[in-house]
């Protein structure tokens, strides 16, 4: 028996982060918990990868970051989607949908 694969599909982490942040600003753990909850545990995010990805997206200009208080009065770094980030999310979503449906068609044809 092996554990079910919970790695995020290569190249989709950015999209998942952008999507999660499109609802509201969040801190790192908040994003991780949300991805896990919404995907019903299919995807588990590793903090090393997640925080690195956040830095990358911030430098790409898709996210802005700001230190704020959490609800339990802990200082945390909150990320907000920028206008450029929203556009990027739209592009990535469209691209992903196109690819996913193509793969789905292929798999169906195979079956």
């Amino acid at each position: 028996m092996t554990d079910a694969n919970t790695d995020v599909i290569q190249g989709t982490l950015d999209m998942l982060i952008l999507k999660t942040l499109s609802l509201e600003p969040m801190h790192g753990f908040g994003i991780a918990r949300r991805v896990e909850q919404v995907s019903r545990g299919v995807f588990k995010v590793n903090p090393g990868s997640l925080l690195t990805a956040l830095q990358r997206l911030e430098r790409a200009g898709w996210l802005d970051a700001e230190w704020r208080q959490t609800e339990n009065s802990r200082r945390a770094k909150f990320y907000t989607l920028t206008r450029a980030g929203r556009k990027q999310l739209e592009e990535e979503t469209a691209d992903w949908t196109r690819r996913a449906s193509a793969i789905a068609r292929l798999l169906k044809a195979e079956g």
Binding site: P47, L51, N72, R74
Partner: protein, 851 residues
């Protein structure tokens, strides 16, 4: 936007690393706290919550490391970290650093110096306007392939009138002459130019005006330096009078210091546009031209070949097979220095190669010392790139320091080179270090770093931690490959040094053979005065000769002087004459097969002063005058050439020097080498000054001294100036003149020898390094052997035998390389000297169509 963020965020984190680290740490810790809090809220105890969070998300430290590693600034930081590390390593291994830096400084310095010379002479454009359109005109004979850098007056005028590809063209001729000023006289290069000269070079005077055709024989331009030396400044020179070849000329303009054509000219005297010589067989002029900006050399050459062909049909006798061809001025100026310079470049290239091999070798030794360190790094998970980077950086650092030291070395080296350079090396005043040289040196340093670090870096990358950690060099357990590699490098080094040394030996041998040659006269203790007395008419010349005879008597009476005489046609000097002669009893004169000889005009006592032995008959005497029967003295070769075994005394000789009077041979003297030690002794015809006064006013006075010749210079100068202040004088010694005549050979030999010396030094360092390292590595093994009773001598001989074997391989490889290179050099020289090669560059169809 995002690029901007990349840059600013990266710089911010570089600038305030502590804050960046704190932020990352806080963010990671907050993440884990939240994760633990989430587990606690599901009911776990504090301890279990921590464990669960760790289990799920891994270690806090690893996460921090990962996040911290993000960003370009980390690569930069690693780079600087490695650079600092390399610097520290270099400081720690002072012996290695010093040896490697010195080696590279020598190699790179020599290259920078030679490249400076090459850049200034071969590559840099000439410092004239439209330099790429400037040409000289040569005369080329298609049947013999012979080319001369001169043209005849009428041919040049025809080309000037007809060639549409030529914008402006000037005829000129120059010589080293005495120029008389109001109260003194100087020796300098005077060039006679027509009014087009300034147009060809687009000259602008810094004072006064340029020359017009109406100025011919009346006006001259002088160089800024000439004006400064003789009249305080350029303005003061204007309107001053000069005497050139006894013609009074007025200075009407001053040319800037930077203009130096023909080389060393200080006075440009106006000559008419219509050349005085109207013979199509008298090559009395040189020609320089500027092509139209719209044409190419190819087109100009094609046009000039067409014009030459028309001249050939118009003057079938004089112009048979004759072509007037343009040659780029730059090419004409650098002439045959190109092969010499490229040869030198190849030699310094070899030195750099040896230096690279040395540094590679030093690096290898270093990397073997570090093998365990590298193995541990690899075992801890460094990538091969991460292992190679410090090795390459170390190399780069050493090379850059070496390069900087090399440039510092190159400054004095270039100065020495210019000092040593033969006088005929063109453009020496333009030689200086510049941006190109610095760029070249930088590129060279980087290249050297790469070349010398390739092997060590690859080795570092290939280090197998498991294997290496098992080995222990101090116990004599090493792999075989390492030794092979080092041995190969030593062989390469010895081979390269051998090539250099062999080249140096050959050149030195030539040099020594030349310096030891018997010139046919005694060169030691001989002071030589270049003396030019103004004379315009035959009467002037006769008076000058009389005066010189008086001067000889005065000088001979001075203490320290044994003999004094005058001569036109001193061996190795710039003046001299030669031509055909005829003798009685030799049958009808055949112009094509007349015997040829050097002509010299001498005063009585010349042979004694020079130490030329009188073999038969007598010297000239005071009784040989313009009124007495004409006499001549001949050299042994001439006697043999024209009279065979018959007694030459009393025979009649005639030559076309200045009169067609028959001369009676009164003496036979030994042969001399006229031009340089490289030449064979040949026939010479000596005539007395009193009978040929026209050649007696511009002479060399030779003084055989009992003391160091130059110590008498001031006394001699005063004595001559007292007799006639208008005589221009220049002093030298016969030894110096002979030396100058082989300056190019000496220059080459001296440079190559010093290169070979440097190469040898480097190779010795290299071989020593390898041997020392090998012995150090084998200390354990040697100790074991000795413990079992091996003789000291036996061990010594193993080590020496190994070194000797490597040296033998190196010499064998070097020998083969030398043979290959010798063929290359010979063919290169042959190609450079082959005269009519330009003719082969013409498309015959293009040439025919344009005719």
């Amino acid at each position: 936007m995002s690029l901007w963020r990349q840059l600013t965020y990266g710089l911010r984190s570089l600038a305030n690393r502590a804050k960046h680290d704190r932020d990352v740490a806080e963010e990671v810790e907050q993440y884990f706290e939240e994760a633990e809090a989430a587990w606690r809220s599901r009911g776990l105890s504090a301890k279990d919550a921590t464990r669960a969070a760790r289990l799920e998300a891994g270690s806090v430290t690893v996460a921090k490391e990962r996040v911290n590693a993000y960003g370009w600034e980390n690569t930069a930081r690693n780079f600087f970290g490695d650079l600092r590390f390399a610097g520290r390593q270099l400081l720690k291994h002072k012996a290695f650093t010093a040896t490697a830096t010195l080696t590279l400084a020598l190699g790179i310095g020599a290259n920078a110096a030679i490249f400076t010379v090459i850049e200034s002479i071969l590559l840099a454009p000439l410092p004239y306007k439209n330099a790429d359109k400037l040409a000289v005109l040569d005369t080329h004979w298609t049947n013999s392939g012979h080319t001369t850098a001169r043209v005849t007056g009428p041919d040049a005028v025809d080309v000037r009138n007809q060639a549409r590809s030529i914008e402006a063209m000037s005829l000129y001729s120059s010589g080293n002459l005495g120029v008389q000023l109001r109260d003194h006289s100087v020796y300098t290069v005077v060039t006679f130019v027509d009014a087009n000269f300034a147009r060809v070079f687009s000259l602008q005077p810094i004072a006064g005006r340029l020359l017009t055709d109406a100025d011919a024989h009346h006006a001259a331009l002088v160089s800024e330096q000439f004006a400064r030396d003789n009249f305080a400044n350029a303005q003061a020179a204007l309107g001053q009078m000069l005497q050139v070849e006894n013609e009074p000329v007025e200075i009407v303009g001053v040319l800037p210091e930077s203009f130096d054509f023909p080389a060393q000219t200080r006075v440009w005297e106006a000559y008419p546009l219509r050349p005085a010589s109207e013979e199509r067989t008298a090559f009395n002029y040189k020609a320089v031209a500027r092509l139209r900006s719209s044409t190419t050399f190819q087109a100009a050459q094609t046009e000039l070949i067409g014009i030459s062909r028309r001249l050939e049909s118009a003057y079938p006798e004089a112009n048979r097979n004759k072509q007037i061809l343009p040659q780029p001025l730059h090419q004409a100026l650098i002439g045959n220095t190109r092969p010499t310079l490229l040869f030198l470049w190849a030699a310094v290239g070899l030195i750099l190669l040896i230096a690279c091999v040395n540094v590679t070798h030093l690096q290898l030794v270093r990397s073997m010392e570090r093998e365990r360190e590298l193995a541990i790094r690899r075992a801890l998970g460094s990538s091969s790139r991460q292992v190679m980077q410090p090795v390459i950086l170390e190399s780069l650092l050493v090379s850059l320091i070496g390069g900087a030291a090399g440039v510092l070395l190159a400054f004095p080296a270039v100065r020495v080179l210019v000092e040593m350079a033969p006088k005929d090396l063109p453009r020496t005043n333009e030689i200086h270090l510049n941006g190109w040289v610095l760029g070249f040196t930088l590129a060279l340093s980087v290249l050297t770093a790469l070349a010398s670090s390739v092997l060590p870096a690859l080795k570092a990358a290939k280090v197998d931690p498991a294997e290496t950690l098992k080995q222990d060099a101090s116990r004599g357990m090493t792999r075989q490959g390492a030794t092979m590699l080092r041995d190969g490098l030593v062989v390469a080094e010895v081979a390269a040094t051998f090539v250099l040394a062999l080249g140096a030996a050959l050149l030195l041998h030539t040099m020594m053979a030349l310096s030891d040659r018997d010139m046919g006269y005694q060169t030691r203790q001989l002071l030589v005065v270049d003396a030019d007395a103004p004379a315009h008419s035959d009467q002037d010349a006769q008076r000058a000769v009389q005066q010189f005879n008086g001067i000889f008597a005065q000088l001979a009476a001075m203490p320290g002087i044994k003999h004094v005489a005058g001569i036109m046609g001193l061996p190795t000097s710039a003046y001299g004459s030669n031509g055909y002669y005829t003798v009685t009893g030799a049958g009808p004169v055949d112009v094509n097969h007349s015997p040829h000889a050097d002509f010299s005009v001498a005063s009585p006592g010349y042979f004694q002063a020079m130490g030329i032995p009188i073999k038969r008959g007598r010297d000239f005497s005071q009784q040989d005058t313009g009124e007495s029967p004409f006499v001549a003295v001949i050299s042994e070769s001439l006697a043999k050439q024209s009279f065979g075994n018959a007694d030459p005394l009393g025979k009649q000789v005639q030559c076309g020097l200045d009169s067609d009077k028959w001369m009676t041979v009164v003496g036979v003297v030994g042969d001399v080498r006229q031009e340089s030690p490289a030449e064979n002794p040949g026939p010479t015809l000596y005539m007395p000054m009193t009978q040929h006064p026209y050649y007696g006013n511009q002479i060399h006075i030779v003084l055989r001294t009992e003391v160091k010749p130059l110590t008498l210079m001031n006394a001699v100068q005063e004595t001559i100036a007292r007799m006639n202040p208008l005589i221009a004088m220049r002093f030298t010694t016969m030894d110096a003149m002979v030396n100058t005549s082989i300056a190019t050979e000496r220059f080459r030999a001296a440079l190559i020898s010093s290169f070979a010396g440097v190469g040898l030094l480097l190779a010795m360092l290299g071989v020593y390094g390898t041997m020392a390292y090998t012995v150090a590595q084998r200390t354990f093994e040697i100790g074991v052997r000795m413990a079992f009773g091996a003789e000291r001598g036996a061990i010594l001989s193993t080590v020496l035998a190994h070194a000797a074997k490597l040296a033998c391989y190196g010499i064998a490889v070097g020998l083969v390389l030398s043979l290959l290179l010798a063929r290359l050099v010979t063919s290169m020289l042959a190609a450079a000297l082959a005269p009519g090669w330009r003719a082969t560059h013409v498309d015959p169809m293009v040439a025919l169509r344009s005719a």
